[in-house]
Symmetry: none
Amino acid sequence: MASGTHSGGKTPAPSPIARKSLFEKSRCDTSLGILTQRFAELLKCSANGVLDLNEVSQQLNAPKRRVYDVTNVLEGIQLIKKKSKNCIEWLGGKLKVQVCQDLQDLIEEERKLDELIQSCTQQVRHMCEDRHCQRYPLSGNSSWLHFALCCWKSVFYFLLEWWE
Amino acid sequence: MASGTHSGGKTPAPSPIARKSLFEKSRCDTSLGILTQRFAELLKCSANGVLDLNEVSQQLNAPKRRVYDVTNVLEGIQLIKKKSKNCIEWLGGKLKVQVCQDLQDLIEEERKLDELIQSCTQQVRHMCEDRHCQRYPLSGNSSWLHFALCCWKSVFYFLLEWWE
DNA sequence: GCAATTTTCGCGCAGCCT
DNA sequence: AGGCTGCGCGAAAATTGC
């Protein structure tokens, strides 16, 4: 941007002797891949999913031409849509990253349920193996009654968590 | 490709008088967006999700440079990964469509569990409201015992389905 | 409508990086 | 030596002005 280090096109002076020094800008700092990631980041922030390309170019400190490189292929994948002049809109609702998060959440939910079921199953197995209980299933403070109560207690606790 | 209609860079002859005629190639015929779509198409076909960039360039009849434009941003979005020289590999295992299917499946699973819990909760509520049962919780073939059995029966049936 | 402006963006050179 | 890729020129498309 501010430097004229490179020799492409017809910028002022090519300067054959490479001015490789302090503020050299490594190539990967401006790679399309990185730019794309940062673009996606901006997209994630913007609540409504609409971006002004000029602002993007500004914020990412990248030439507009590069932004077009990104938007063009994102549009090809239908992750984005041209909304109007200088404006694109996010399609597909959420970013892949977000979708993945949702998946993670559901999987976690599944795990918890599995745990609960597992623990209850264990309890039943123990009761079935208990000789005394087998012979006098309802004697004293029956473990069957105790079990039913205990079981529902955990279910209700779980439900509380479930429904925030 | 074969024509020298344009005047950019230093291709042979600029030819001031525009040779606009029969085989004019509109800009959009070679747009990055279209190229991206066709690239995705190729990806979808290739079973293992690995593509040789040279073949891609050949099949899409596009200069290699353009293919890089596509792969670079696709890589930024982590839809793709450089596998080796001239080779990229599809990531995320499945196309976006597939991921959505998975989400649907999990949500359906969640719904079923919700239903099961709901029905069980209903059962408890009924039992709690049953005067007779309240007074003589363990009388006869106690509905508490019946409930515990019934509850576990559904849980086990559910588990059977769960684990295919 | 058509010319002036502005926005998009095809394109391939030249320099990096193995 | 050769794959890879930043880069920006200038022409095509879209907008605006008259």
